[in-house]
Amino acid sequence: MAILIIAEHDNSTLKGATLNAVAAACQIDADLDLLVAGAECQAVAEQASKVMGVSKVLLADHSAYEHQLAENLCELVVELSRNYSHVIAPATSNGKNVLPRVAALLDVAQISDITSVESEDTFQRPIYAGNAIATVQSQDPIKVLTVRGAAFDAAVAEGGAAEIVAIATVCNDELSSFVGEEVAVSDRPELTAAKVVISGGRGMGNGENFSLLEKVADKLGAAVGASRAAVDAGFVPNDMQVGQTGKIVAPELYIAVGISGAIQHLAGMKDSKVIVAINKDEEAPIFQVADYGLVADLFEAVPELEAKL
């Protein structure tokens, strides 16, 4: 049986999270169908057809799907999923919104946020905010899964030539309707949603010096965070704190500057894909978790980093 993957897109571009979901699906089965449901989203279907590993692109192009409303999308997916062994979506806000609804209508469980494929019915997923990893086996005929992107290397976006099949089914029950949307306009992303986070610790010396980090953040489109020590020292406000009682972040890239790496802080960022530490104390515990460590005076290294990005 084949796998149905729900594509993440904005009606013009296929989003990267789809590629991670495809990669996860490839570990289960080779026969992958990618559903592009949207409005005037032909361009997305074309991009989807080029993704390596995809056998077929199902294109459901109708205004009912324009805003990915869960009620309409769910009905469509349920109707399609009878022919599949697995239904997979990236664990994005759309995927998380629609897929449990699909699972309930299929009378099967959903396994959320998988980080590893053990076999076609057994998966690993983080529980307790990543403080434990559960291995879960599905006993349902159809496995419904959401995929944590950072856990799977993206599938190759170019080179494939999958057939595009139009789906005529229109599900529009008008239970809900789109009112509006507001794309985050802030120059810097939210700490918990950012792809790149640069954080400062007590080594920053004072609050004004955080401007050094902001300049780097501007170049990388990063959010700026802080360790508890920096918050406690009054350098920056509470809401910038990463760690124990602050926020848990898991960006693609985490840059820790002048942070020693107290366990509270490590607990808040250890799920980041790549960790960089810049600290003048080579004994700092942060280096034990960093992928790339630079022993240097941050007041020299950070401006240099900014200049070279």
């Binding site: 007590r202 010396g205 004072n206 508890r228 020590a229 918050v231 406690d232 020292a233 509470n238 704190q241 124990q244 009682t245 107290a262 366990i263 509270q264 607990a267």
Partner: protein, 552 residues
């Protein structure tokens, strides 16, 4: 105007003393068919969250309070099977003290290795079933006095204030809990108990109170090494007792509890005089001694915590009654240091209190009386006898050192009671000598296997405080930490605090700053006790803050 509620009895602190008072009060009221309103306020997020004790529990008081506690499922499950006492000679050697030389107070036959936190959780369930209102997450932050100078209740703390004391959106004012009688059972160095002792001069004519800091960890160990019921105590290394290194005394414990777990801890007496000493680091290095390391190796640390203990005993025990109130358990100082046990005596002090209070409440509905009858009732109880006969134990150790002191204790406890009383009247806080008098102690870096640093330890205590709130560690004089303590004692708060709350940070251009990381606080109260100028006052933070100890 703050809202208020009225109760017959308000009890401050859901520990063994407070909960025993509550249970015994309601037992009597229910037996007599009398209406009685009893409420217990507790600063921890739940009952047991702030309880930390060894512990080997003597069940004497529990036998009296709930004779069928076993059938009722009280969490005392591991009976002591074997006692061993060691003298650690250095970081490698130790010698076991022959049983016949051990003071009989240190024999634990018939006692139980238990989590006092879990015992309190169980006692709170019993109390609630008996009709007591138990309110965790509500600290008693101040005392309400009546017009005649009597205690008339307590006020709970405000919630939702920011650092500067301004009201946040979530602001909720505290409440006045008015009571005919208020029972203070806050545990060692309760901040209200401290105020009562001063206001009513409860310690007049008594020796200075003495304290220790107990630091404890819970470990999962290799099942092959686990001997449920085995109790190890000892003294000696690493707390040096050579005059040239400063006179720190204390002792360790290692108990094999249930489920392949052991508890290990070190009590450091807070009368030490070397300001470089760090009880936390002493404990961490102690675990490398083969006697302890052999048990822990291959295991995993599960939990960490610290709490001061009141150990002055009989000679320092303040008067426990005052108009409208009683001061009980470790809040007063009922721990029997010769047994290193305080749970049974605290419980009994509460049960006697409940009996005294019920007698008074039966006769008069007025409240606010001076409960002097408590003194007599307490004197007639076995707690008094225990404390009186062991009155020399602590002072002998303090005054004559571990070796001679132990010998005197052996004679006093086993052979013939000494016909005199040894006094030790020097408060712990003014024992520190100048930092120049000793060289700093070279504590090894923790290895991350047996020994750990403070942040990773505090992490395991599950401690937390709402970030934005007034600092609950108050300085009377902001100039003292850097202006005096740093110069004279290299600011000992950096070392005596087992949670890394106090730090002296070097800023740009060598400038120094004293920082209080109050979020880390374990509520152990050591700073309030040991600060050489008594400049730090511990007050209650927002309700629910502090550690969340499981099974401690």
């Amino acid at each position: 105007m703050r809202e208020s509620m009225e109760f017959d009895v308000v009890i401050v602190g859901a520990g063994p003393a407070g909960l025993s008072t509550a249970c015994r009060l309601m037992q009597q009221a229910n037996d007599a068919g009398q209406e009685l309103s009893v409420c217990v306020v507790e600063k921890g997020s739940e009952v047991g969250a702030h309880i930390l004790s060894g512990a080997v529990v003597e069940p004497r008081a529990l036998n009296e309070l709930f004779p069928d506690w076993k059938e009722m499922g009280a969490p005392l499950k591991t009976e002591v099977t074997e006692d061993r006492i060691y003298l650690l000679k250095d970081d490698q050697k130790s010698s076991k003290i022959p049983n016949f030389l051990v003071p009989k107070t240190m024999h634990n036959h018939g006692n139980y290795i238990a989590s006092v936190g879990n015992l309190c959780r169980w006692l709170a369930e019993q109390a609630e079933q008996l009709g007591v209102e138990v309110f965790p997450g509500f600290p008693a932050s101040y005392i309400i006095y009546g017009d005649d100078g009597q205690v008339a209740g307590i006020g709970t703390g405000d919630m939702g204030l920011d650092e500067e004391g301004n009201q946040k959106d979530t602001y909720m004012p505290g409440m006045d809990l008015l009571a005919k009688y208020t029972v203070f059972t806050e545990g060692c160095r309760g901040h209200l108990g401290k105020e009562l002792i001063a206001k009513y001069q409860l310690n007049a004519g008594k020796d200075a109170q003495h304290y220790g800091i107990g630091i404890k960890e819970l470990w999962d160990i290799d099942p092959a090494k686990h001997e449920p019921g085995l109790v190890l105590h000892g003294t000696g290394w690493p707390l040096s007792f050579k005059e040239s290194e400063g006179g720190a005394s204390g002792g360790f414990f290692l108990y094999h509890a249930e489920d392949n777990q052991v508890v290990v801890g070190l009590i450091t007496d807070l009368n030490y005089d070397n300001p470089h000493l760090s009880p936390f680091d002493e404990f961490q290095r102690m675990k490398h001694h083969p006697l302890i390391a052999d048990t822990l190796t291959g295991g995993k640390r599960v939990s960490y915590g610290a709490r001061a203990i009141t150990k002055g005993g009989y000679n320092a025990l303040p008067k426990m009654s005052m108009p409208g109130a009683l001061l009980l358990g470790c809040d007063a100082g009922t721990l029997n240091f010769s047994k290193i046990k305080g749970t049974h005596t605290a419980m009994k002090s509460g049960m006697v209190a409940a009996e005294t209070l019920f007698e008074v409440l039966k006769i008069s509905n007025e409240g606010g009386q001076n409960l002097t009858a408590y003194g007599d009732n307490f004197k007639d109880s076995w707690v008094y006898e225990e404390l009186y006969t062991s009155r020399n134990f602590g002072p002998a150790l303090h005054k004559y050192g571990t070796v001679i002191g132990s010998a005197l204790n052996y004679i006093d406890q086993n052979i013939v009671s000494l016909p005199f009383t040894i006094h030790d009247n020097y408060p712990d806080y003014n024992q520190l000598k100048s930092a120049n008098a000793y060289s700093p102690i070279d504590y090894q870096k923790p290895d991350g296997v047996l020994s750990f640093d403070k942040p990773s330890s505090v992490f395991l205590s599950n401690t937390n405080h709402e970030e934005s709130q007034p600092c609950h560690l108050q300085l009377s004089d902001y100039s003292i930490p850097l202006g005096k303590n740093l110069i004279m004692f290299d600011e000992p708060a950096q070392r005596y605090c087992p949670a890394g709350v106090y730090e002296v940070i070097e800023g740009e251009k060598g400038s120094k700053q004293f920082q209080i990381n109050s979020q880390n606080c374990l509520h152990c109260k050591t700073c309030d006790i040991k600060d050489p100028t008594q400049n730090i006052t511990w007050v209650t933070p927002e309700g629910g803050g502090g550690p969340n100890y499981p099974n401690m």
